[in-house]
Symmetry: C2
Subunit: 399 residues, 2 copies
């Protein structure tokens, strides 16, 4: 029997997957589970999106342009303009979800063995894309006490080696919900320029910025236009995760020309998703306002309720729909499994994502969990009640 | 300005892309172009597919399962059974087109520097996927005189080194249209077993087998179940290239477990395409019979007409919708460009794919072109007339 590759062996599993069998077993026992573990919003996809797909009078479902339909890319430029991101349709490659944007960007920019610095905790799948591209991820810790603000530039400098080729951020952040300030991004800019690094920025949550705080894109940073690559997706924006439509955007012509070769090899991004996404660009502002109002209410409820639980600390995020909470527990992986395997309260329990999966540094995040506040407030209330009760029982059991 | 990766620089461009600007210029001059250069069928997508998407009453367009919807995978097993391919839904990962199936299979099976042998001419994008996975493709020539039959096993043996980890075939073949016989596949089996190699087989054209010749899948080869990986796509089957739905299929549990980690990192395949593809499994046999009848008529016309042109030799393919023709020319790249740039006949010309792009061996295929007979017979007639006239002019011009 032939042997699989080293890469295949090293490829990380999602930290949540390990919990799935326990969740399934709990369901079989009749326990209702509140899923705060995944970023699958319950928000409805805009009708403009769904109706465009339904109404698309296609006879032959052809390949689209490898960079995505031109009409969609042209219209996207107007969308970005509203966020002060000035791009041309030739600066955009439509990808199969944000995932493919990350893959193509990594393969285009980095050689096997090159290092990229990512503030942790970070989106766990970056590890998978890094592994696939043979890129070495160098984490630097952003602290829960600071609400996961950008680590000091000195911390970046400490891990920069001749192999360092890039920095990657997520803004607003998954899993932290942190929204980088203008000052932070300007500091990053200086660093990026000094070492001539690529700066990859995953900004798929830009529609989810709260409290009037300003979202600033790396595309707005002047003087590093050739260093910057924006990674985007409509999955969260239009609650259209299944469409698989993302984008890789850069002003760097070399990167774009090469990325296009990767895009051409895989022929084209999905047609239906593009048709929906193009129509959804006309989604009225009221849709996003309603969504935002809903998420703010959820966030405000969750953060307050969590911080009321003895021993729990959860900084208030300004973006996305996640928060990281520190719990009075020994081991988040053990605790999250225990919640599904051994605990129930009024025949209910809660599924959380152990934060360990979002850190690369061994041992980091051991008493933290990521909570995706993607449920209705009523459900969030029950979920938090479960968590509070669980922490009591867990403490008495392990003490 | 940071430098792109070696891989990005080495990534091959599609051989046809170079011709696109010349085609655009010809169109601007008012010249009608018959496109025999691409495998985009003009056949209509089955109504069952299109109607399923239109009728899908989805409110939240969620991620699907990373391996693809279970209902689709289960139903697919019945489809494969009709081709004597016995698989379980857990042996299947639904991918974003056949392209992603190839990428994931390569990353799962091969280490950087590993070698895979591919009979050439082969589908040009294999070069791109090989480059992305840092796999070295070792071509061995299948001859036009034999109609592109499998090269002798001795030819494979000659290029096998300690680094050889796999063999890849396309059956029925793009760009050759060749359909491997049972004897050829049994010979390959012995070789694969002897050296314990992975055998990757791209069988996306199985619906297009002619003259009553039997399509045999590598999945039917007994005793090498752990070596075999089937790469599939619905793009040609249902003329649904834009759906981006493919599949990677294997009985090898190690490969499947690892491939699933790559699939999980990118979250899920496109939802709309899966809904259409699942419904299309009920496409009546009459649809395929009608399509086949049409392609047989096109093939019969094209092959006969081409072989009537002085100096042209084109073996008759038994599958897919391509043929490779040898022309009385010095340089196919030059000729194909000349057709667009300097030639027209009754304000018409023809766009062909130079076969050089389908060979890895330098200089191979220099007097060959690939013709995709994806147009109506009436158009094919005009296209062949153009080609005949062009060859006359080209000969007098270069002699």
């Amino acid at each position: 029997m032939p042997i699989i590759s080293h890469k295949a062996k090293a490829m990380p599993s999602s930290p949540i997957r390990k919990l799935v069998p326990f969740a399934e077993a709990a369901k079989k026992r009749g326990v209702k589970i509140y899923h705060l573990n995944i970023g699958q919003p319950d928000i409805e996809t805009p009708e403009s999106f769904l109706n465009a797909v339904k109404g698309w009078d296609v006879k032959v479902l052809e390949y689209s342009h490898s960079a995505g339909n031109e009409s969609y890319r042209k219209k996207l430029c107007n969308y970005y303009k509203e966020y002060n991101i000035n791009v041309d349709s030739n600066d955009i490659i439509i990808t199969c979800g944000g995932s493919e944007a990350i893959s193509i960007a990594m393969m285009t920019c980095f050689n096997p063995g090159d290092e990229i610095i990512i503030p942790e905790p970070f989106y766990a799948n970056y590890n998978g894309f890094g592994c696939a591209a043979n890129v070495v991820i160098k984490p630097i810790i952003s602290s829960i006490e600071s609400g996961f603000a950008l680590p000091l530039i000195e911390e970046f400098e400490k891990v920069i080696t001749p192999k360092t080729k890039g920095i990657m951020i997520c803004n607003p952040g998954n899993p932290t919900g942190y929204l980088y300030t203008k000052t932070e991004l300007e500091e990053l800019k200086v660093l990026v320029k000094k070492h001539d690094l690529f700066l990859l920025s995953d900004e798929v949550y830009r529609e989810f910025c709260y409290d009037g705080k300003e979202y600033i894109s790396v595309m707005q940073l002047e003087g590093i236009e050739n260093n910057v690559i924006l990674l985007d997706s409509i999955s969260k924006r239009y609650s259209a995760c299944g469409a698989r439509v993302g984008a890789m955007i850069t002003k760097n012509k070399d990167v774009m020309a090469s990325a296009l070769k990767f895009a051409q090899a895989r022929l084209s991004p999905p047609s239906y998703g593009q048709v929906g996404a193009e129509a959804a660009l006309d989604t009225p502002k009221s849709y996003f306002e309603a969504v935002k109002t809903e998420y703010i209410a959820r966030r405000d409820y969750v953060i307050e309720a969590l911080n009321k639980i003895p021993g729990v600390f959860c900084p208030k995020p300004s973006g996305a729909f996640y928060c990281i909470a520190r719990l009075p527990i020994d081991d988040a992986d053990k605790f999250c499994q225990w919640l599904l395997e051994s605990f129930s309260h009024k025949s209910q329990t809660v599924m959380l994502a152990p934060a360990t999966g979002f850190y690369s540094t061994p041992g980091a995040g051991k008493n933290e969990v990521r909570i995706a506040y993607v449920l209705k407030i009523e459900d969030l209330k029950n979920a938090v009640e479960c968590l509070e009760e669980a922490l009591k029982q867990y403490a008495s059991q392990t003490s």
